[in-house]
């Protein structure tokens, strides 16, 4: 501890050492989550923690926040050292964590959310509403943002909520602010605004520690990047010394590059052909054909209609008009089971609620789509042996990292969870695999494995429909790309066009312009359109 303090002094008063972790070790059973970690967080610095899911970043944050207690090591905060830290002590030392879910009160106003934590500290018996507004206004002033203090939070955008969470932390006199993947749900402009706020806070002398999977943000904002891998610290790097390739190498321990998909299939007939499909307020006049061996990418802003189209193909969103031909025959996809029978699988957008039974084992999840096939006799006796075989073959085929097929799906990392969903669908031997944003919130290593899997399936003549927001993901994997805007396909890029190295920025431009074809009125309508409402 003495050494740490001296080091801080040497570093100059401009960047005071606020938090130091010395020799932190934490195990969960046989699993070592953190192994002898030494780390320093300084005021006036933006510090990024990088690493794949399960590499130990979150565990470290939780130890410093007092949620977990380390097995070995010391946390030094503001010169005071702690072997054991309670959440209350941690907060009293000025440490605030903004978790991904933000933990805000949805039914309360912006002002109440910002000020209530502060008021609780003061233990006042009565609430002074003027004081509430004053506190909230002061914090917003500090980050240079104007918000409607009376807005109820459930009506606010995610980006507003994010800012409210930051202000709440500031109202609690935060000196060290942890942010867990703050930009995941934000659009480009909102990310810019958040990063600006972070710079402001840095200038005010706070230590900002943020966890992110988005490498471009890391390079834009971070001063220091600490890389974790398998519970060990790989090193601290000034972000100017890093590039994307280096960083992903440190994170995964291997060189990652996404191989470009080449369609090799000879099949020329469409597996599925969508003809003039319309659904009011969602999409209109969709014409699309997918051949075996195609990986067809779909990109478009929220409300562009692509997820709604995917749900229609899976029998969960009946179109108003138009036809769907499967291998030339018109087929009504009225329910998920009808779609499954037609050979269609859907990896849904939200893996934790739609894709998986988190509280069930890997085996139960892997067999969930083929329960009928595993049942025999009049009573439908379930074949537990076959289920286990199925689960084990999925684990091997997809390289799912789990200690056993009996482990709960919710205990796996994001990437491995997604692989379980893929395994569940491969069990049905699909002919068309629809993947809706399969790599959101997934670390680089698992991402590459999922791409590899999609490509190898396509090489075996499966048709793949890949919905994604990431242009790089699409250009690497797709043999064709359809750009959606306002419920219509505005352009389909074929294999030749995709060979153009500058195609990425072209796609970005078309997507951003809303397909260039939208009139001013269209754009306005799309701005207020909420696809979730439409689906319900």
């Amino acid at each position: 501890m003495q050494q740490g303090a001296q080091a801080a002094l040497k570093d100059g008063a401009a960047k005071p050492l606020l938090v130091e972790a010395i020799g932190i070790t934490k195990t969960f059973g046989a699993f070592t989550a953190l192994d002898d970690i030494n780390l320093m967080f300084k005021g006036g610095e933006i510090h990024c923690l990088a690493g794949e899911n399960g590499s130990g970043k979150s565990t470290l944050v939780k130890i410093i926040a007092g949620t977990y207690t380390q097995d070995k090591g010391t946390v030094v905060i503001n010169g005071r050292s702690y072997k054991e830290l309670t959440p209350a002590q941690s907060m009293a030392e000025g440490i605030q964590v903004i978790y991904q879910d933000l933990s805000l009160f949805e039914h309360m106003t912006v002002a109440e959310n910002i000020a209530l934590g502060h008021l609780r500290e003061e233990r006042s018996a009565l609430i002074n509403w003027q004081q509430v507004r004053a506190i909230a206004a002061a914090q917003l002033e500090r980050i240079g943002v104007r918000l409607d203090l009376n807005q109820e939070l459930r009506e606010a955008s995610i980006s507003t909520k994010q800012l409210v969470a930051i202000c709440r932390a500031l109202a609690m006199n935060a000196r060290v602010l942890f942010m867990d993947e703050p930009t995941t749900a934000l659009s480009g402009r909102e990310v810019d605004r958040l990063l600006e706020v972070m710079s402001e806070l840095k200038k005010a002398g706070l230590a900002i520690i943020f966890i992110s999977h988005k490498l471009d943000e890391v390079f834009r904002i971070a001063d220091v990047v600490t890389v974790f891998r398998d519970g060990r610290k790989i090193g601290d790097f000034p972000s100017c010394d890093l590039n994307a390739k280096r960083l992903s190498y440190y994170m995964t321990g291997k060189e990652i590059s996404y191989p470009k998909y080449q369609r090799i299939s000879k099949a020329q007939d469409n597996f599925i052909e969508i003809k003039d499909l319309c659904k009011k307020d969602m999409y209109s006049h969709i014409n699309l054909g997918i051949r075996p061996g195609d990986i067809l990418g779909c990109i478009g802003l929220l409300g562009s209609g692509r997820t709604e189209l995917a749900l229609s193909l899976f029998g969960l969103n009946q179109p108003d008009s138009g036809k769907i031909l499967i291998e030339g025959r018109e087929t009504a996809l009225k329910s998920p089971s009808a779609s499954m029978e037609a050979g269609i699988a859907l990896l849904p957008e939200d893996r934790s609620t739609e894709g998986l039974f988190l509280e069930r084992s890997v085996a139960v999840n892997s067999s969930a789509s083929v329960i009928g096939k595993l049942s025999h006799g009049i009573l439908g006796f379930f074949d537990f042996v076959k289920e286990r075989t199925l689960a084990l073959s999925g684990i091997e085929r997809l390289n799912i990292k789990t200690t056993s097929e009996r482990k709960l799906a919710g205990e796996l990392s994001g990437g491995n969870q997604q692989k379980v969903v893929i395994s569940k669908w491969l069990a049905t031997k699909p002919r068309l695999f629809i993947m809706d944003n399969p790599t959101v919130g997934i670390d680089i290593g698992s991402k590459a494995e999922i791409y590899e899997q999609a490509q190898s399936l396509a090489r075996q003549d499966m048709a793949v429909l890949l919905l994604s927001d990431e242009i790089e993901e699409l250009t690497a994997n797709c043999s064709r790309i359809a750009i959606f805007a306002h419920g219509q396909i505005v352009e389909i890029l074929d294999e030749e066009r995709l060979k153009d190295p500058a195609i990425g920025s072209y796609i970005a431009a078309v997507v951003a312009a809303g397909g260039k074809q939208g009139t001013a009125q269209d754009t306005a309508a799309a701005g207020t359109y909420n696809p979730k409402e439409g689906r319900a």
């Binding site: 059973g29 969960l316 039974f357 509280e359 969930a368 329960i371 049942s375 205990e411």
Partner: protein, 356 residues
């Protein structure tokens, strides 16, 4: 935690489940205390037999409520359904309806009609819930009143009495010393356990109950699951109704109204998760025994019904507490013998006990 053994042994079937562990401990404890406190008064052949006579009519209701809990719902109409099907069977048995039939036919027709009608009433519940996407609480609150109302209109609130002796004989018949209706209840319980835990349909039910959205995205037909579950509950209500009229030799609206509330307590104590997807039939079996034993003890002690309620409430709280800390306790006891296995927060969560 999740135990999907290819060949579950009888031992880890129970020990692998924190809830059943706690439940069994309480059961053994209660049994021992009863033995010490009451001795023969509790464990005499006569008392055991009388307990076995009383269990089935309530047991069927509890099994029905368990099914409702498994899909994350509730069925308030079970006893109203039981009473109405009992009344209809009663009218046929007394010869008020279909007077031409001889006694044997009357009994056969009455039994089939009662079960058919109760199943239809269950189907009706299921269709309302599935078609209109209403919560089962609201839907069955409505049908409870409806079924009771029909029964009231049919009987004018009076009891239907005077069944053939050969029918009521079933209510007191014994095989050896064991009541036939108790044997029937055990058979239904075993069948239900097999259907729920060893078949594809049962697996679908557990998955649907645990997470209907993921079930939908896995191609499980949620509509069908709801309808099938509530139809099955209707059938169980019919069994309960028949058992009741067989035993008490009369049918009327309002018999066993308290069973609905009691079956809720039994389900919770038995570890059937109200949010759906968790719980085993054997839990219902043990809990029903436990409740009956407690009721018997209260009778021996000549407690007032108010005290009885108090004690049941106490038991509910006790078991809930035990399940929450049951696993923690167990692991603490085992800790010296098990290496590399520490307790995380998740392990001690009662909700984590799996049943797939």
């Amino acid at each position: 935690m999740s135990k999907i053994n290819a060949t579950p042994t009888p031992i880890n079937y129970i020990t692998g489940d924190a809830n059943l562990n706690a439940l069994l401990s309480v059961f053994v404890l209660t049994a021992l205390i009863c033995a010490l406190a009451f001795g023969d008064a509790m464990y005499s052949g006569a008392n055991l037999q009388s307990m076995a006579f009383q269990i089935p009519e309530f047991g069927f209701v509890a099994l029905g409520m368990m099914l409702a809990f498994l899909v994350g719902g509730i069925d308030l109409s079970i006893t109203a359904n039981a009473c109405l099907s009992g009344i209809v069977a009663g009218f046929i048995l007394t010869g008020s309806w279909l007077p031409g039939l001889d006694e044997g036919m009357r009994i056969a027709v009455a039994v089939v009609t009662a079960l058919g009608l109760s199943t239809l009433m269950g189907l009706f519940n299921g269709l309302i819930i599935a078609c209109f996407a209403v919560s089962s609480l609201i839907a069955t609150l409505g049908t409870m009143t409806l079924y009771s109302g029909i029964g009231m209109a049919l009987t004018g609130g009076r009891s239907v009495v005077g069944f053939p002796d050969s029918f009521t004989a079933g209510g007191i018949a014994c095989l050896g010393e064991v009541p036939v209706i108790f044997i029937a209840f055990v058979i239904v319980m075993v069948l239900m356990a097999i259907l729920l835990e060893r078949t594809g349909g049962g697996r679908r039910l557990y998955l649907f109950g645990g997470n209907p959205v993921a079930a939908l995205f896995s191609g499980i037909n949620n509509f069908r699951m709801n309808v099938a579950t509530f139809t099955a509950i209707g059938f169980l209500a019919g069994l309960s109704g028949l058992t009741i009229i067989m035993r008490v030799n009369s049918a009327k609206v309002g018999y066993g109204d308290a069973y609905v509330f009691q079956s809720l307590i039994v389900c919770v104590i038995a570890g059937i998760h109200p949010a759906g997807g968790r719980g085993k039939v054997i839990g219902i079996g043990i809990t029903t025994l436990l409740m009956q034993m407690a009721a018997s003890a209260f009778t021996i002690l000549q407690l007032s019904p108010y005290t009885t309620k108090l004690i049941w409430g106490l038991m509910l709280v006790l078991v809930l507490g035990l399940t929450r800390d049951g696993r923690r306790l167990l692991n603490a006891l085992r800790a010296p013998f098990i290496k590399n296995k520490t307790l995380t927060d998740k392990d001690s969560n009662p909700g984590e006990a799996d049943n797939g």
